[in-house]
Subunit: 419 residues, 2 copies
């Protein structure tokens, strides 16, 4: 793997509000929201004439909205016709791939500025159909016909992690509690409530209805109660990310042109991508995602940096267990040791290595194809010190990492950024 | 649009036999067939360890096979795990995009050799579902809900072309007759029969069944008869490409490494991509595809060549009318003048500018996501003088062009090659 022939930077980033927006908003509306948000956050402005191409990350508008061939539509909505417009798909890593391809395309010398989109409108379908559509990211020959869906596949991973390393349900809860606390500080998040707030409002509703108020002393009590239903042992409702409509937009530019748009570009120091067999049964380990390790290896090598240099990270917490695997596979912690860091609060906003300050997929929401680009929106804000409410990391980090996973680890894209 | 930071070449190319293969063969089997064929056609051999990444063009295995997230699966089947594996989608231009992204990725300096796949398995679904799935490449907000499908959309284009330029049904028939004559010489084609042969075998069947033998004097008589059913006026069955399962594989390499694999690389001299509004009603013209014009402009500019330099072309004849539009939009002929060239036989194998010597989508078959890569397989053979049977252009061309269209012209990729 070689070096980029020229440097590439993010010069603007924005997103739509994440939530259940259908039918008021669909992909076109969400994308325009994200585009306008990103334009506003590009210091010197940016116009369609400045942009050479539109790269769209989307998992499956085919199954969600019966709309394939999404990229020209997205390009047209923001005045980019007849420029190149392409869709990139790697399940939930789709816009991670779109960004990576934009970086490579700019480094190639052919393009100078690319608009990267991540879009997904999931709530047009009822939840059972969403689960079925998402299952298309598993192996259609072996896993899907056997009835596997993603909560079940990640439950398998969690069970193995429990057995090998003594990880517990409480550890998973700690991930959820932290991410909801962060999401409560994110005005773009789908669930802007801490789990404590959710618990208190449940209590209030019980009281209002004249029912017996549950005796929950803290979030753990609440999360262990039947109110937090079991989805696939050991994963409960609060271990799962959300079903979300949303979009994100990134403006990516070559080094010689980046300063036209801003004095403080966010440089892509390293980019890596890995793959793995789709089926869990085809892998040597259930508790290590090989695609993550490979993507991280490439990204660190290109950046000339290591895990210890990373000051903040957005990782792919589609399920709470996935955040734990990512912390280990990215080299932040030894295998089996991530939970210690979680127990010590190291990954909270005021900890040694803040993870998912945005609220993560868990609380910010997970419009699958948009998630990779949305990771970068948070990093863009954190590195510039402009994250909203009380979410900004006080020390204003300078080096960051994003980790975007597809399926049960069949695809992974890791990028490293520096301001 | 800038130049490629380094040159890129095709060093191997192959394909599966195109046809109706399901359930005996699905995407994984078709892809492995194509891979093995391409390995065999790589002079000095090629192994997984030589390859940095796997780029997969596929329109909608989501809707056809309930398999999204296709790329890691394809990579795994040929020993490329854990390398980067990504899917690229632009409807029927999907593997054209995959190749273009491979070219850009290699030029970027990050990758040296990429395996490009085009795959589609369509016959798992009944034809009515195929038509419905393909319609996802039209506009899901306006065209699809109005009942538009692709035969109807291209019929609209054809009717407008008839009106503006006096093009006739006979002109469309000439395209079909030529392409079937070419396909009859292609051992990988789905329909290896000229229309004359099809007509004669129909007559023989009538005779066998003791029925009155139709009085068809030539192919035109046959094509005007009720045996050639009307699909969407003026497009008949024989104006439509086929529903096909198939895959193609290209090995793409950087200039400094291409010679490791072959002494006669096929150089990518120019690559271009354009987009347009998905909906026909959003366009200024029904008889010009703006995406083609834009893609061609970029490709010619990068190559420093013009339409007059092209000695052979594979163009996207999803419907016969599409070949006519391509001939004009690529600048080979003035608008409205392509049919003259067709009437004069200029685009036949022994003509001035052979078009679709492979048999085209019309006769070779159209596994939608595989088509762009399959175009290149034919060019690879023609430039090397190794096309099978009587298909090889006698003068062995040195400069070639491929034209890969998505939907009703929402996406177009044009590449120019030189041996």
């Amino acid at each position: 793997m070689g070096k980029l022939a020229r440097k590439v930077a993010i010069v603007g980033a924005g997103m739509s509000k994440f939530g259940a927006h259908y039918p008021k908003k669909r992909n076109p509306d969400l994308w325009v929201d994200a585009w306008l948000d990103a334009v506003e956050r590009t210091d010197n402005g940016i116009e369609p004439k400045d942009i050479d191409a539109c790269y769209v990350g989307n998992f499956t508008s085919d199954l969600f909205n019966h709309q394939g061939h999404l990229a020209p539509q997205m390009a047209d909505l923001v005045g980019l016709t007849p420029k190149p417009a392409s869709r990139f798909e790697g399940a939930c890593a789709s816009s991670g791939i779109a960004l990576r391809q934009a970086v490579l395309s700019i480094a190639s010398g052919v393009h100078d500025v690319i608009a990267v989109a991540g879009v997904e409108c999931m709530t047009e379908q009822p939840t059972v159909k969403v689960t079925d559509a998402l299952a298309a990211a598993s192996d259609a020959l072996f896993e899907y016909p056997a009835g596997a869906t993603f909560p079940g596949l990640y439950a398998t991973v969690a069970t193995a992690h429990f057995k090998e390393f003594g990880t517990t349900s409480e550890d998973l809860m700690r991930v959820a509690i932290k991410n909801h606390e962060n999401g409560a500080e994110n005005p773009y998040a789908q669930m802007q409530q801490s789990i404590k707030q959710i618990m208190e409002s449940k209590k209030a509703r019980y009281e209002q209805q004249g029912k017996e108020i549950p005796d929950w002393k803290d979030e753990f009590d609440f999360l262990k109660s039947p109110s937090n239903i079991m989805i696939a042992y050991p994963l409960t409702l609060f271990d799962c990310s959300l079903v979300t409509d949303g979009a994100a937009c990134l403006f990516v530019a070559a080094e010689n042109i980046a300063k036209k748009f801003t004095d403080t570009p966010i440089w892509i120091e390293g980019t890596g991508q890995g793959s793995d067999a789709l089926s869990l049964h085809d892998r040597k380990s259930l508790t290590t995602f090989r695609a993550t390790k490979e993507a991280a290896r490439q990204a660190y090598e290109m950046a000339g940096l290591g895990p210890k240099d990373i000051q903040i990270a957005e990782v792919h917490d589609c399920f709470t267990i996935a955040e734990i695997l990512a912390m280990e596979d990215l080299g932040f912690y030894e295998k089996g040791k991530a939970v210690e860091a979680i127990r010590n609060g190291e990954t909270k906003r005021d900890g040694k290595l803040p993870i998912n300050a945005s609220g993560g997929l868990k609380s910010k929401g997970h419009p699958v194809g948009a998630t990779g680009a949305a990771h970068v929106v948070e990093i863009f804000k954190q590195l510039r010190g402009i994250a909203e409410r009380n979410r900004q990391i006080k020390s204003t980090p300078e080096i960051a990492l994003t980790h975007n996973l597809g399926g049960s680890g069949g695809t992974c894209v890791v990028n490293i950024y520096r301001i």
